[in-house]
Symmetry: D2
Subunit: 366 residues, 4 copies
């Protein structure tokens, strides 16, 4: 649990600081025979790349990925896949002053408490840039899921006061919204809200929703390794996330058992279905084969230009204004990070799921 390794069968190990040589990930446990290349992985990285609209930092980062191992003649070999993105455009100068005080909302203080000192350049390892490795690995997990008929789709559900309804949104529209909000009217209102806060050198938060379709039933472990527990950890491990919900989430606290229970029934074609999906596709920690639905609360960007109170290393109370080029909101860029963490977790569990029944194991080795 030393911190930067995730997963059991499908195991990823990330490394890299915001202003170091680069960011990377080693994927161990990827099966042989998966066709992947740098162009494909790049499509995932491009979704979290900054500088794509006025709603993200103007910082330009190519985030060009390179595959250093584990792929031979276009296919994975079953050995570790090392992916790296070398850093560019490191204006450390932007950050030098930060060494002297603790930025509110950032991990400067806790890192110093834990390690005795820190790489203060752009937050070092605690920077959102760390998620680059997650997304590169997420691209590989996504490719595996596609082969198994599982699709993971995340989008911006709410920003500040603007929220959309999952039933009403049209997934394809997410691409048309700079906020990845699949309801263009709502997206327009959210954009307005963000620009208003941005003008005041402030930032905003929001909620990301993620839907998984095509998940087989029976995946997940009882007790401690419940599928929803693993997803909660995976999502909560993303820097700015402060809350996670499965299905109806916190709403269940206000519901009665009769309202909350999902009834099964056979439709006219004798297919088993459910009259509702309050559980969000996971019951007793195990998938039921219906849509998995989860939400994550994303806090507003901690870095804001506006003056804030904090302390410096000379033990003085000071007012600071965080320089540098910041995202007025993290949510849109975090959507693909959520998708990636969900995909990585599902692959790990689908692999684990192969050993739950002796009859299937015998058939496999027959």
């Amino acid at each position: 649990m030393s911190g930067s390794v995730f997963g059991n069968r499908f195991k990823i190990s990330t490394w890299g600081e915001s202003h170091g040589e680069g960011i990377g990930v080693v994927v161990d446990g990827c099966p042989s025979g998966l066709f992947i290349n740098e162009e494909y992985i790049q499509t995932y990285l491009n979704r979290r790349k900054p500088g794509q609209s006025e709603f993200s930092t103007p910082r330009k980062e190519a985030d060009k990925v390179r595959i250093l191992s584990g792929v031979f003649e276009g296919r994975t070999t079953g050995t570790p896949i090392s992916l790296v993105v070398f850093n560019e455009n490191q204006r450390s100068s932007d950050y030098s002053q930060i060494a002297s005080y603790y930025r509110p909302g950032h991990a400067d203080y806790t890192y110093d408490q834990k390690y005795g000192f820190r790489d203060y350049r752009g937050g070092g390892r605690s920077s959102g840039r760390e998620t680059t490795g997650r997304v590169a690995a997420g691209a590989i997990a996504g490719a595996i899921l596609k082969e198994l008929g599982v699709a993971v789709y995340a989008y911006t559900k709410s920003i500040g006061p603007v929220s959309i309804d999952y039933q009403k949104c049209r997934k394809d529209l997410a691409l048309k919204s700079p906020l990845v909000m699949p309801d263009l009217e709502a997206s327009a209102r959210a954009e307005e809200y963000i620009l208003k806060q941005k003008a005041e050198e402030n930032s905003v938060g929001g909620v990301i929703e993620c839907i998984v379709t095509g998940m087989p039933a029976g995946i997940g472990e009882p007790v401690f390794d419940k599928l929803d527990a693993a997803l909660a950890k995976a999502i909560m491990s993303i820097g700015a996330i402060k809350g996670v919900e499965i299905g109806d989430g916190f709403e269940v606290a206000k519901h009665t058992g009769f309202e909350n229970n999902d009834s099964f029934f056979y439709d006219e074609d004798q297919n088993l279905t459910k009259l509702s999906n309050h559980s969000g596709g996971i019951v007793g920690g195990i998938s039921d084969g219906f849509e998995i639905i989860l939400r994550a609360a994303v806090k507003p960007t901690a870095s804001i230009g506006r003056s804030q109170k904090t302390v410096n290393k000379s033990k003085e109370n000071v007012d600071v204004q965080i320089g540098g080029r910041h995202d007025p909101i993290i949510v849109p860029r975090a959507v693909v990070v959520v998708e990636s963490m969900v995909a990585i977790t599902l692959v790990d569990y689908l692999f684990q799921g192969m050993t739950s029944r002796l009859d299937k194991i015998k058939e496999f080795y027959k």
Copy 2:
């Protein structure tokens, strides 16, 4: 990740079914020299024991714990501690009919999908009774935390429409409330609400809040093993939990960075403090030494007497009424389960935290 083992340094392995021989846990990694005995562990188990008020099942279970290993002359020896609670009063007859259909809101269907069949007696391993092992291990973790000056305190924050304010509640009052709600006026209203739903053979949900005090700063791992991520998994692994929040949780989605950032400052005595604690005591996955605050959403009891639609094994749509003696609400009995999972997680992380700095490691081995 086979499911029933939790933790890395402080590792617990639970076993047992609702109507099997018993329920137990093996605690591996408990340091030597901790004074514990059966009486002490029993005080934790008694808090989750049923039959203590009209708000829990009338089922009587002694839940008497026995220590089978790892303790010699009153102290832990450093070897695995095996704790067992033998089952009594198993009225399997109550459950026999359940074998034929899938109870809405229960894991009957998902277990069958995963394993091909299931121990249908009282939910078998998916029964809330599984938490007995967690609480027994939680008692040991709690004893270790006490030695380290860390206190974990959970209580019922809301039930249905009735919610209380953390600032206004008085911890000691929790003992006076059958709902473990430290605001007796609110508790009375909640009791009324539960009895009304119970009369309609229905059940209710709620929210549990947990506060950790005395936690050292610098505990938690960056990236995937963030302390809040681990707590989220620990809490979400409890059967009926559908959502987890740290600090302001989902509220952050509506806040701005200026509102959400916690400013540091030195008080007149030159002690470092914070002007707010929106982060809930964890930043960048690492504790900051202030109160850790988390909340868990508990769904209403799935077992209700009221008639519900579902399917049976003959592939028919049927109406069922769940017999047996159920809890109209799980929340009060789950409070100590939340405390236990938090305590177990914190011990694991405090042990891990000892190796983050070379200077401290050198001092330890000097």
Copy 3:
């Protein structure tokens, strides 16, 4: 890595001291649908039970196993299987004096160094009695392997100066030898040797050889989790083992590449075979489908009646004679422990082996 948990997919957690309440194991990750019962598991335990000949301690232990969870209507349910053997006949008096000094060859000193004190009754957790839990779990692993067509067979290869040749031995004869040595003439000579040493209040060591047949090719992980590396750890984790070999083992140091390489060839029926098996069925950490062969060196019983020099807690040099009823040799009783650890490891790896190829994973989930 807290010490008493072994395995990844098929995970066992053992507990118990020599003179505590009992010894047990929790098996997590056993697939559903395996038929097992107490009688079957008992057959394994009986093989390590003492008091069966003049070559083991006269101590009588029933070692009666009980299944406390994970089995329903004769089949495993996929949930943790808790197995326990309650202790009887604990003549602690035999051991009380031991508290005052460190027995040569025993872990008394290292346990005190690690934990500050120890359960000195019969060695506590460091007693050979700890292996009871391994063997109970080994019985379950053995049952799974049988379903998959894999057989694990261990026997006594040498005792002191008496050694037998794998090619010449007849497996079935092992049952006829009180030393589990499948060459009765050699067994007779070994028995004589042991009795001679026993008469001088001394003890002897030996070598156990283990053969695995029916193992599929392609099982094992490259680099750190090589199948032979995992087997080496599993075997070396047995108390008295001081060396492990795979295939030709230490002999390879004296061989040339031309002698040591195993040539493949197709026989007249076009079946792939090998002209030799110096590798012992594992190459590059992965099984090649031929016999897996390994050997373990077992040290002589540390407890001997003969007078030995050591120190006591009053920091004095003293001469001691270990009282109690000891085994003049551990080897025969350890044979089933070796078989058990090999079986547990193979099951873990066969489960892991199901995820190495995408095409097979897709087929599984089709």
Copy 4:
């Protein structure tokens, strides 16, 4: 256990193929504050670098290491350390023909069985080149051990028929021997032996011995995670190793308890010592504070020019001669790999060892 990740607290993840882009390792769990740089790590890599004498392949590889993360202003920050060696001089042509048949003694066949196909260029991931990542990580572990006063020293104990005595060897002489054999007279005889075999296009094996001094007593876990068991796995995970011994190893099989037990005694200065060290510094899986001694059997290089029988993919029996530039012996280059694996394992266990006693944990957090 997906294969390329090793360790628990001090966790390393290696990647890379013989003829891919490069070889690397990510070290997670290294404490903050350790001074390291590329020059220091290079000194370890240079010890396994080929082309340094007529006893290793003439293949020239710079093996220049680069630190990509985890180090800031010369010190480790506590975050993952990514180390990479980019490959050069990849004469894939040497290996193209290998794709068509299975080299005796190599993992070609087992990799194909496991993954369905393989990166056949120079053995891909199964190449000895994989150990580059282990040695780079070993350099970091070695630096940590030095800070803790622990020294790991390995050398060539035997080659073919030539063996040296640990008591007689002079460690410093190892540097003067091209075979890392600290007895120059024996080294000369071994060199002669190797050249004779090399002339016949053959290869030879040997034994590496490793001595650890300064190890604190009380390190290691009981039962499955015994320190010797972990070392056995670590060593056996090195490609060409076929056997591992601790202390007297296989010799114990021929000894009596009286001969094998190590007696404690207090010398005139009242220091606790032992009259012998047959146990090799580990008893009951826990270090006793005396020298740790282990040995590893290294098989002769599988690649030999001499003609050998094998099969090709057209299912024909063929005679092959392995082209390319091979090591006539692996032993000398493997010495630093053994040292590295031992160092990595010891660091992992020293970190684990910090949590065995409550009194010490309390002191740490005071």
